[in-house]
Amino acid sequence: MTLVKDDSGRESEDDKGDMPGGGDAYVPSQRRLDRERYKRARARRATAIAALSTLITAVVLYVVVVSAPGWERTKETFFDAHYAREALPKVLEGLWLNVRLLLICGVLVLVLGMLIAIARTLPGPVFFPLRALAAAYTDFFRGLPLIINLMIVVFGVPALRLQGVTVDPVWLGGTALTLTYSAYVAEVFRAGIESVHPSQRAAARSLGLTNRQALRHVVLPQAVRRQVPPLLNDLVSLQKDTGLVSIGGAVDAVRAADIIAQRSLNYTPYIVAGLVFVALTIPMTRFTDWVTARMDRRRAQGGAI
C-alpha cells in the first residue's frame, strides 16, 4: 500500500503563525503602540469609574439603612456581637450535620438521578412501564414544594409506626431531600443525553454496538461532561437546602441557631447561620464558575461538538 504521509509538517507551521514576534526581529509599529496606549488609558478610566460608583452605592446604602427609624432596635436584635460569639461554635457544630447530609445525599442524588434519566430514554415497548414511572416521578417531585415533601416524610412516616423503619429526622429529612433532588438531577441528565447529536448514536450503532453499549460508551460520557455546570449548580442548591431538615428537629446549623434565638429572643444566631451557609457555598459556586469557564473555552476553541 502506498499511502499519504503528509501530517508531520502541518501543525508546527500553524503554531508558529500565532506567536507574536516569535524569532524574527519584530519591532512593534507606532500604530500598535498608540493603540495600546489608548487601551491602557481607557482601562484606567473604567477602573476609576467603577471605584467611584461603588463608593457612592455603599454610602447611599449605609445612609438608607442607618437612618431607618427602626435601625437601633434592628441592630440590637440582629447584629449583637455577644450572641454571635455564643452562637458560632454551636452553629458550626450543627453545620457538620449539614455537610454529612450533603455528601451522602449528593451521591445518592447523582446515582438515582442518572438511573431515572436512563429509564426515561429506554426504547422499546418492554420498558414502557419504567419510562412512565420515571416520567411520573420527575413530574411529581419537581412540582412538589420541598418543604411539603419534608413535612410529609419527616412527620408522616413515623406516624405510620412501621416496624424497623427509622423515625430519625435526619434520615427521613435526607430521604426527602434525595427524593426531590433526584428529580431535578434526572432532568439535567436527560437534557444532557438528548443534547448528544443523534449522529453519535448512529455512528456507535453502525459499528455494531448495542443500544446499551452506545449509551454507556458514547452517549453518557458526553452527556455527563456537558452537564457538569448545571449539576454543580444543583449540588450548591442541595447544600443550602440541607438546612431544611431542621424542621423535623434535627440539630443542624439552622436548628442550633434556632435554639439560641428562642431562648434569648435575639435573632443574631440566624444571621450567623446564614453567613456560615454562604461561606460554605461560595467555594462550590466558584468551582462551578471555573469548570463552566473552562468548558466554554474548550468549546470556543472548536473543541467539543
Binding site: 500500500m1 502506498t2 499511502l3 499519504v4 504521509k5 503528509d6 501530517d7 508531520s8 502541518r10 449522529s199 453519535q200 448512529a202 455512528a203 456507535a204 450503532r205 453502525s206 459499528l207 455494531g208 454496538l209 448495542t210 453499549q213 460508551h217 458514547v218 460520557p221 458526553q222 461532561r225 476553541q301 472548536g302 473543541g303 467539543a304 461538538i305
Partner: protein
Amino acid sequence: MSDVPVLRMESVRKTFGDSVVLRDVDLEVAPHTVTALIGASGSGKSTLLRCANLLEEIDDGAIWLDGEEITDPRVDQDAVRRRIGVVFQAYNLFPHMTVLENITLAPRRVHGVSREEAEQRGRELLERLGLGGKAGEYPDRLSGGQQQRVAIVRALAVRPRLLLLDEVTAALDPELVGEVLNVVRDLKEDGMTMVLATHEMGFARDVADQVCFLDSGVVLERGTAEQVFGDPQRERTQRFLRRIVEAGRL
C-alpha cells in the same frame, strides 16, 4: 460462492412522511467491487446507504447481505451492522475519546478482542493510513482529512464484509480531498467491497466498477463507469453530467 453478491437490494421503497425517498430500488454489489452512487443532493444516495446498514427501516422490498436477508425482522440487527462498516460525511468520531479509543471501541466491546490486540491492529491501520503519530490525539486536534481517515480506520478495524462511504469528502477542503480518496483507492486494491455515494465524478469514473445514477429515489441508469459517464442513455443523466462538466467537476 463468489457468485453471491455481497449486497443485494430488491424493490426497496423508503418514505419519510409523504415524500418517497427510494422507489423500487434494485442493486447488486459483487464481491471485491466498488459501486458508486451518483446523483444530485436529495436523490436518495445517503438514504440508500443508511437502509443497507439498517440505520433506516425500509417500507417495502428486501435487502440481502451475503445471501442472508437482513430486512427480515427476526434478524439480529446488531449482528448485521457488525459486518458492515460505515464512514459518514461528517466523520462522526467520538469527541470524548482519543483516536485509538475511537478505533478500538468496537473491536473490544463488540467483538471481544483483547485490548492489546485491538490496539496493535489499530496502530497498524493508523500507520498504513499515514496517521501513525495521532493515536493519542483527540479528534478535535486533527484536520478534516485526518479525521475522515480516522473514521475510515474505525470502520475497518472490525474487518467488515462491506464498506459504505457516504460522501466522505463532501465536508473537506479541496486540498484534503485527495488524501481521503487515495485511501479509498488503496482499499479497492486490497479487494474491499464498497458502496460509495459521491459528488467526485472524476473519482467515481476512476475507481468504480459499477455506477448508479439516482434521480428522485429511482436508479435511473446503471452500468460500468464507461457506459454511464461516456454514453449515458437517459436524458436526465445527460443533463446531470452536463451540469457537472460545466461546473468543472469532471
